[in-house]
C-alpha cells in the first residue's frame, strides 16, 4: 500500500492560501475518487474539495480553522490494494515522471512530507498563479571555444542547482555566492552569429562614431530611444555623468584608499541626531499620517513678494515667499482650528487639545542638525513683525544658538524643502502637533490659464496630518485655504 499526499490546490486563479473549514473524512475512512474530503474557504469562495485518490485515509495533515498555504500537504491517503481504476493510473503516471516509484514512496514516508513538489508534467498545478519563477539559474557548461576560462561547476554543488521536478529550486540548498557570478558570465560569450546579432546595441552611425572617439562602450549607455536605440542625447548625458563621476571620484573615495577598514564610517548617534531619530520614530509610529498635495500657481505671491521688497516699509527686512506661506498657514489654521491642536493621552482617556494660539514652527537645518524652533503667538504678528520674527529665527538657528525654549510648545510646523530645489515630499509631523506643511520649490512651469498654456510660477504644497485628529475633509479644507492665499495673497485682507 502506497501513501499518496494531496496538497492544497489553488482553486481560484492565483490564490495563495485557504482555510479548512471542516473535514468530511477522518483517518480510517475509505474514500473514492471525487468523494468530498473537506470544505475550504478561500479569499473568493467556499469550496468543497473532492479526493483525487481512492483508498483509505491515513492522516489529516492540516487542522481545521487554520490558514494554510497553497501547496501544503493536507491529507494522506493509502491506496487500496484492490482498486484498479483511476487513481493508480494517475499515480503511476506521476511517479514515472518524477522518478522511480520506490524513491517517491520513500520520500513520502518521511515524517514531514515536504518532498512532493509537483512536477511540471503531471503533478497538481498548485500555486500556478502567484509563485515567482526560480531566481536561481541553471549552470552552463563551459563552452569549449570560449575566450575566457570559466571554472568548471563544483561537482558537489551541481545537483542542488539542477532544476528538476524532484529538486525544487526553493530547496534550502546553500550555494556559494561566487558561483552564480560564474554562471552569469558564461552565456554571454557563446561565439555565435545569432547571439552577436541579438546583443548588438542599436545606434545610428554618427552616434557610434562619437562613442568610439570618446572611448565609450555603447553597451554601457542607458538607451532611451525607440526599440532600445542609444540616441545622441543618451550618449551626451552618459558622458556628462562620467565626467562628473571622474571629477568627484578622488575626493569621495579618498579615505578608502588610505585604509581598507575605513570603507564604512561609523558615526555614533548622539544629541540632535538621536533626538531627531526618536522624535521621528515616535511620530511616525504613533500618529497615523495622511499626506495630501496641491499644485499652486504662486505667481501672485511672487509679485507680492517683489512689491514688498521694493516697499519702503520693508526696507532692510528679508522677504521671501516663505513669509506669505507662513501668513497663509496662520490664516488657514484660524479658519480650521482643529489642525492647530494636540493629541493627549490622559489617564482618563484620550483628549484633543485645540490651541487658540499659534506657535508656528519652522524646520531649520542647523550645524547641530534638524531643529524646529517656533515663533510664539504668531497669530498676533503683523506681516512685517512676522517677517522680522522669521529672519531672527533663521539667523539664530543658522548660528547654532537656538535655545531649548524656542523649540518648545510648537503647535504647527512648516518645512521649506523647496529651498534646495525639491518639488515636494511627505513630511513627518513634529511630535506634539497634528499637522505639518511642506513647501516645495517655486519654479516656472507651463500652466493653463483660460485655455492657454503660459509660463507661471508653480509650487507644490504638501501636508501631513495626524488622522486621529484631522480627517481627510478637514485636511483638504486647510490645504485648500493655504493654497488659496498662495494663489491670491490679497485674500489676507479679508
Amino acid at each position: 500500500m502506497t501513501k499518496q499526499i494531496f496538497t492544497l490546490p489553488d482553486v481560484g486563479e492565483g490564490l495563495t492560501e485557504a482555510e479548512i473549514v471542516a473535514w468530511k473524512v477522518k483517518p480510517g475512512d475509505t474514500v473514492a475518487i471525487n468523494d468530498i474530503i473537506c470544505e475550504i474557504e478561500t479569499a473568493k469562495s467556499l469550496v468543497e474539495l473532492p479526493s483525487p485518490y481512492a483508498g483509505t485515509v491515513l492522516d489529516l495533515l492540516a487542522p481545521e480553522h487554520q490558514t494554510i498555504e497553497v501547496g501544503s500537504p493536507i491529507i494522506a491517503i493509502g491506496e487500496g490494494a484492490d482498486d484498479g481504476v483511476g487513481a493508480p493510473s494517475g499515480a503511476a503516471s506521476s511517479a514515472s515522471v518524477v522518478g522511480s516509484p520506490s524513491a517517491l514512496g520513500e520520500s513520502l514516508d518521511s515524517p514531514v512530507p515536504v518532498m512532493h513538489e509537483p512536477g511540471i508534467e503531471s503533478g497538481p498545478l498548485v500555486g500556478s498563479g502567484p509563485k515567482a519563477d526560480a531566481a536561481k539559474r541553471r549552470p552552463r557548461r563551459a563552452a569549449p571555444s570560449s575566450a575566457r576560462q570559466v571554472p568548471p561547476p563544483v561537482p558537489a554543488r551541481e545537483p542542488e542547482a539542477v532544476w528538476s521536478p524532484l529538486n525544487k529550486p526553493e530547496a534550502p540548498a546553500a550555494v556559494a555566492p561566487t558561483q552564480p557570478a560564474a554562471e552569469v558570465t558564461a552565456p554571454a560569450q557563446a561565439p555565435n552569429a545569432v547571439v552577436g546579432l541579438l546583443s548588438r546595441v542599436l545606434a545610428k552611425p554618427p552616434v557610434r562614431r562619437i562613442a568610439k572617439e570618446l572611448g565609450i562602450n555603447l553597451e554601457d549607455v542607458p538607451a532611451t530611444g525607440a526599440r532600445g536605440e542609444v540616441t545622441r542625447a543618451d550618449l551626451e548625458s552618459y558622458q556628462a555623468q562620467r565626467e562628473r563621476e571622474q571629477d568627484a571620484a578622488p575626493t569621495f573615495w579618498e579615505p578608502a584608499k588610505k585604509a581598507q577598514q575605513q570603507r564604512v564610517e561609523v558615526i555614533p548617534v548622539r544629541g540632535v541626531r538621536k533626538a531627531t531619530a526618536k522624535a521621528m520614530v515616535d511620530s511616525a509610529f504613533s500618529a497615523p499620517h495622511v499626506s495630501i498635495f496641491v499644485d499652486v500657481d504662486a505667481s501672485r505671491t511672487m509679485e507680492f513678494v517683489q512689491r514688498l521688497k521694493k516697499s519702503r516699509d520693508f526696507e532692510g527686512i528679508k522677504v521671501s515667499p516663505l513669509l506669505i506661506l507662513a501668513k497663509a498657514v496662520i490664516w488657514a489654521a484660524a479658519r480650521n482650528p482643529s489642525v492647530n491642536s494636540q493629541w493627549v493621552s490622559a489617564p482618563g482617556g484620550d483628549e484633543i487639545h485645540v490651541k487658540h494660539f499659534m506657535n508656528l514652527g519652522i524646520a531649520a537645518a542647523t550645524p547641530r542638525g534638524l531643529l524646529v524652533p517656533n515663533i510664539k503667538d504668531a497669530q498676533d504678528l503683523s506681516l512685517k513683525e512676522l517677517a522680522i520674527a522669521l529672519n531672527e529665527l533663521a539667523t539664530t538657528a543658522r548660528a547654532g544658538k537656538t535655545k531649548p525654549a524656542d523649540m518648545q510648545d510648537g503647535t504647527l510646523t512648516i518645512t521649506n524643502i523647496g529651498a534646495l530645489g525639491i518639488d515636494i515630499g511627505t513630511p513627518i509631523i513634529n511630535p506634539g502637533e497634528v499637522a505639518i506643511v511642506a513647501f516645495g520649490t517655486i519654479k516656472q512651469k507651463p500652466w493653463v490659464v483660460s485655455g492657454e498654456v503660459i509660463p507661471r510660477w508653480i509650487t507644490t504644497l504638501g501636508g501631513s496630518f495626524d488622522h486621529r485628529v484631522v480627517d481627510g475633509d478637514l485636511s483638504a479644507r486647510f490645504m485648500a485655504d493655504v493654497a488659496a492665499i498662495m494663489e491670491e495673497p490679497a485674500l489676507l485682507l479679508d
Binding site: 490546490p9 474539495l49 503516471s93 511540471i120 508534467e121 503531471s122 539542477v162 528538476s164 524532484l166 552565456p187
Partner: protein, 412 residues
Amino acid sequence: MGVELPTTEFSDIPDELWLELEAHAHEAAEGHSAVVRLLDEKGGFAAGSKLADAVRALNPEDLRAMYRDMAMIRRFDIEATALQRQGQLSLWVPLRGQEAAQIGSGRATQPQDYLFPTYREHGVALTRGVELGELLRLFRGLSNGGWDPRETGFHLYTLVLAAQVPHAVGYAMGIQRDAARAEARGEDPGDPGAVVAYFGDGASSEGDVHESMVFAASFKAPVVFFCQNNQWAISVPAEVQSRIPLFNRAKGYGFPGVRVDGNDVLAVYAVTQWALARARAGKGPVLIEAYTYRQGAHTTADDPTKYRLSDEERMWLERDPVSRFEAYLRAEGIADDAFFADVAAAGDALAAKARADILSFEAPSLEDAFANVYAEPHPLVAEELAWHREYEAGFADTESAVDADRAQEGGR
C-alpha cells in the same frame, strides 16, 4: 438679402405623431417576450407548434443520441470541475444547466458550417466531434487551443469576451465571397455553409457584438447569433444587461430575433435549424436568445452564493434540461431504464478517460513554439531554432548530474 439660408432647425413634431411615438416608445421598452418552447417542464410535447415538424423528422435514434450527448457532457463537466478542485486544472468553466442550449444548437449544424465558441461551449464541442480531453489542455495551461478547428469546424475557445463575434461575421462574409467567386468562375460552390457565433448575455453588452450585428445585417451574412442568456454575467443579472428581452435588439439591426427556451433541447434544435437554413439560403442573420440558466459558478474561481439566492437556483433546477428531456423520452417510450443506465456508465468511462488523459499530458517544450510562427518553413525561424537548441544543450544537467541527484535523494 433675399438669399434664404439653410436652417438646422426642424419644425416641431405634430401632435398626432408625438402621441404615436410616445405609445411606440412605451411598447418598445416593454418588448415582447414570447418564448418558443416544444417541451414543457414536465416533458410534454407541443405537437401544434410550427416547428414541431423539425422534431418529427428526427428518428428515435437521433433523439436518444441527443440525450446521450447531454448526459455525457454533464458528466464530463463534473469531472473537469473535480479535476480543477484537485489542482489538475488552473480553471474550469462549468456548463451545468446549459446542456440543452448547447447540444440542441450544435446538433442542428451541418458539417460544412463553422462555429465560433466562447469558452463554455463544451457541449457544442462534443457535437462537433472535438476530442473532449483536448479541451482540458487549454485549462491546464498547456496550449492556447488544443484542437485543429479545420477538422471539426469548431473554432478555438476565445477567452476575451465577445471577441469571437466579429470573427464569426467576418468568416460568414468570407463564405459569401467564396461562393460568389466560385459562381463567377462557373464552378460549383458546394454545399453552402453558415456560421454560428456563440456568446452570452454579458457579452451582448460589448461593442463587438453591436458592430458584428451591424455588419451582418448590412451584408446579409450567413451567420446565426446564438446568445445563451444564462441570466448572470458573472455577478451581474441579465436584466441589468438589457432593459428589454435581449432578442428584441435584433429588430433594431433589421433581422429576426427569437427567444427560445434554452432548457428545451428540441426547441433549441428546431429554431437553430430554421435559422441556419435561412442563413444558408442567403436571407441573412438571425439572433437566437436561448433562455437558460447557469446552475453552477461562472468559473471555478467564482462563488455564486455571494450574489444570488438559493430560491432562484431551486426554481431553475425544476426546469433542468436533462431531466426534462429524460421525462419526454420515457413518456414517449423512446428510451428505457437500460438505455439510461448505459448512458450513465458511458459517462463514467468518459470521465475516467478524461482523468487519465489529463494526467498523461506532457507540457509542450519551448521548441514547439517555433513550429507555429509561419505556415511554411522560414530561414530565420530555422536559424533561431538551431540557436535555441544549442542554447538548451549548453546546460550542465546531463544524465550523470540527474543520476547523482537521484542517488542523493534515495540515500536520504
